[in-house]
Chain length 350, copies 4
Amino acid sequence: MGKVKVGIVGLGRLGRQHAENLAFRIPNCELLAVCSVIQDEVEQVQKEWDVKYAYTDYDEMLKNKELDAIFIASPSGFHCEQIEKALHAGFHVFSEKPLGLYLEEAVRVQEVVNNHPDKVFMIGFMRRYDRSYVYAKKKIEQGKIGDPVLVRCYGLDPAKAINGFMQFAKNNYSGGLFLDMAIHDLDLARWYLNAEAKQVWAIGGAYAYPEIAQLNDAETGAALVKFENNKMGIFVAGRNCAHGYHIETEIIGTKGTLRIGTTPDKNMVSVFDDNGVVKECSDGFLERFEQAYLSEAEEFISCIRENRQPSVTVEDGVLSTALGYACKESFETGELISVQSPYKTKPLSI
Amino acid sequence: MGKVKVGIVGLGRLGRQHAENLAFRIPNCELLAVCSVIQDEVEQVQKEWDVKYAYTDYDEMLKNKELDAIFIASPSGFHCEQIEKALHAGFHVFSEKPLGLYLEEAVRVQEVVNNHPDKVFMIGFMRRYDRSYVYAKKKIEQGKIGDPVLVRCYGLDPAKAINGFMQFAKNNYSGGLFLDMAIHDLDLARWYLNAEAKQVWAIGGAYAYPEIAQLNDAETGAALVKFENNKMGIFVAGRNCAHGYHIETEIIGTKGTLRIGTTPDKNMVSVFDDNGVVKECSDGFLERFEQAYLSEAEEFISCIRENRQPSVTVEDGVLSTALGYACKESFETGELISVQSPYKTKPLSI
Amino acid sequence: MGKVKVGIVGLGRLGRQHAENLAFRIPNCELLAVCSVIQDEVEQVQKEWDVKYAYTDYDEMLKNKELDAIFIASPSGFHCEQIEKALHAGFHVFSEKPLGLYLEEAVRVQEVVNNHPDKVFMIGFMRRYDRSYVYAKKKIEQGKIGDPVLVRCYGLDPAKAINGFMQFAKNNYSGGLFLDMAIHDLDLARWYLNAEAKQVWAIGGAYAYPEIAQLNDAETGAALVKFENNKMGIFVAGRNCAHGYHIETEIIGTKGTLRIGTTPDKNMVSVFDDNGVVKECSDGFLERFEQAYLSEAEEFISCIRENRQPSVTVEDGVLSTALGYACKESFETGELISVQSPYKTKPLSI
Amino acid sequence: MGKVKVGIVGLGRLGRQHAENLAFRIPNCELLAVCSVIQDEVEQVQKEWDVKYAYTDYDEMLKNKELDAIFIASPSGFHCEQIEKALHAGFHVFSEKPLGLYLEEAVRVQEVVNNHPDKVFMIGFMRRYDRSYVYAKKKIEQGKIGDPVLVRCYGLDPAKAINGFMQFAKNNYSGGLFLDMAIHDLDLARWYLNAEAKQVWAIGGAYAYPEIAQLNDAETGAALVKFENNKMGIFVAGRNCAHGYHIETEIIGTKGTLRIGTTPDKNMVSVFDDNGVVKECSDGFLERFEQAYLSEAEEFISCIRENRQPSVTVEDGVLSTALGYACKESFETGELISVQSPYKTKPLSI
């Protein structure tokens, strides 16, 4: 098989980065089409990178049979519908997280994905492709820390992005702190613990920005999750991190502990000045996860060429979403919540 | 006033360290008497350090009116009774934590303490006197991190001490993981957040040592606590820490974050070898808190000489114990627990 | 202009990495030809990556006028001749460091480069394109550390590679510790200090591997260099680093200090185990400088497309080589050596 | 033997700290007398700490036969004379570094010390008693890093102290950067390498404070030293360290490396704020070496009580001074200097 021909929908900040990667940095891949409802965006990208096709209508792009795969980086509210359409139209599909903003639609997408076993489907849990996260997983599999019993995750957005978030959140439903932001961490905890969540208690507040409380959301929050076999998950999510974009994950096992990103170093430079010894911090996801975004796209293209499925599955998307919902419900009600199976009867694929 | 003359009861590992400090390293202090039910221990210390009086009977020591103060480092179950007797006998009193193993006796001790306002009473929450902890408190008071909204505490005992613990716990009631071990952290969270706990959910398990479950205790556990004003506390306690004695405390505020002891470095040496770059770890509380044990004793002696009370109060002992009980109850029942006021009607002193 | 068509010569460990980058990860670049004297190597790469042309004869490749640029990654002894031939044949040229193994040939290459001002020439001092090194340079230019007065560089190869080196060195002239290994650091010091070297004293020895002394080389060595304006350079080079590939650079200025790579972390994972807290280390240049190799190639291609020269020049190659020679001479003679201008009369281009 | 009775001369910043330690924190020690030419200083200390005897005349103090030992913390220029007088008067002697400001007097002091073998003599190389330095020495003795081949030492005074230094240096002979400041590091290198220096080249300059050049001194300087067996020493000394008091020591061996104080952390607190992750730094020797000053005094008292000599000897003082002189001469002449034996014929005691 020759180069995999990809069309991307969504050219926002992350979408544009994905598009640039697909155009220039992914072996055996060709960015053949770009799509966005914003005409200027599409024209600019088409011209700048010399992309063959450009669309402002997603359905039109799906009619282009030169394409092999669709890469979805549109706003979260569109993911489910666009995934389903692309699969029905016969394309391999990569979708950014979250699978959907509502659990029901996520379950429905899983059905559609399961009905197209010959098509590669991948959800954008890019952290699973970050080298440090992969390295930690390998250490665990090698037994280096014994049996993992507790995962602690920090997912903190930089304070300087908070005004932008509030502007967005006033007019859009983001899913809230736990479902929108903590979703990567919930997935990671399931992955590292190799267990599903049973109960959750989530708390939080709006401390510096009371208007966040008016959105029924939290500026900073914490959730404690009991997983199968008494395993534990601790999740801190926030939108007001003074020092930058702080993503830290710890796995405590019976024989050792792993920490990924104890401090969110921007690079390998230490600055010694009258403040002391300063490690400057990562300022956002594009900087921190540059390699992971590349590697997940490489894996998606490789799966298509090698006719196999990625290790991260649609079910990971559904179950992480279910846990995110339980966190959200606990935060909103103040109650201890039992995590419900998202499936009416039993899991579709396990 | 001349040197403060002190008698100590309890010459175990920590007691002996306290005794040595009082004998040699605390300005304006004289170790005049030692007491232990183990005759050999008493004789050895008396001889080695040339201590004037030695007792195997605590009540006998209390009859010695050359003494100004009693330093209690006996097993936890004796604290309450010994505090009360010493105060009644007219001495200043320092007692190791915990105040007591049962909430009722802790409340009763508080009454006795409050009835002796002319006597200095101090509870051994030594971390409040550790330089790094003091420094963090000062930073917070200076507004460096804005309003503190979340405290995360790790209190992990070294794995190599776990067999000793199990031997002890089979024959003694320790109070359990949250009440015995996490008590320092519960106090610190109250101190840094300047708020009292309202609700707690605690989980945990016995992963490598199932016999700990038979003691109704946890090998490693986690508690999430909601404090006043939606402030948050996360507590991880454990007895099976592979790398050593890991005491880490983090305070997240609206404008910044402080971490104390991110890694529990043994000293300032880094070892570069075929493992990589290795920071060896602290192996126990005597090593990690050497300075704090000295400073709290210095403060106790200074309070006596300067006729004032220390900033850590008997009420800190009672309220931390109440929170520890709530954690324990939550862990044992699996329920979300509201923290009850330990006082029948209202706090005695606030 | 369309894609820049590149032919590469040399498919060893680094050459192969360069080739893969040029083939797949560099925007606006096409790997059109590969060349190596080892036929199997050429055939394998041509087949695996679907490269249009393959050569075992460098002169044959230079006849291919579809090519725009030649990328030289052959053994050091061939660099000078291949650079000259490629420039004479009308190609843009990238050459791996060092410019040459002898100072005279490096000076001669500079003349040829200067005689082809319309052709892009770039020397592979990739560290200048590493993000952390670039960041440090920017900080200096912003005045963050005042006037740089001392640069300290560690360039230590992993101990596990030493047997391979000795095998190679017995049959080949490598240039020795200072000219072969320290050359990157010598260039960096000139770059950060913005000054040329005046005097050097270099010492060292063969401590664990006496056979290195028989090669007139050092296992580990140190050089102290006096630069213009009394600025200072400290260089430690070695081939026997137990913990891995240790590249560390420090710039001390009148108002602050920068360190790049204080510890040569492999990734963002910390391992807490019974050794303590362990940061595993980078195991070689391909791992440590992956991004830099990509970025320098991107810059080379961009220079060609934008008709400009890179900021690292052939003169940097010549002057760093001259300093490397002075280090080597000092080490061999034990004397304090004045660094001679490599130019008979005066610098060709400054 | 009962408590060792000590008289101290010199009540400056460090002297006062020593006096306080001797008075309150050293087991089996009694501060019986204080002496300073500044009457107010003496009276204040006598009163505050209830010291039995106070002198403004050193010779008078030496007549006090209640004393067992003399602790010398006076300005450097007085050390030699005061050591000799105290030994002749029959006292054990502790002297702050340096042994003397001139090599000849240091050699003469050694003779006097050697003529009083029954008296304990100790020179204040306190770093040898710092726990981290002791730990590193132990690791080396255990073979952990193989054979030590290179020691790198940074000894940097905080920039905020530079004005005080210049005020002092205009009116006093300090010995200069290498002899006054680097002396601790020169001693440490000899200790860790277990070898004596053979050749040195030292350079430096006055970059931000040109008036330091007028004092024939350097603001920041570097020395490269060749030790016996081709072992290497790198020394950076300075008076203008923006981030604080930076004492860092590294020992590279054939099988591993040790670093002590890679960053000069003030305490265990990390501050996360909009600068990034900040470790504040030690602000001076009293903070950094608090424990070492205590431990060396404890060792001095123990040596007296146990009738033995400390492991750091007067010869360490002489040989470190000789190396300091060679650095100074190299810096002043610009030449490569051979380190001369300070002894006319041969070492007195080896």
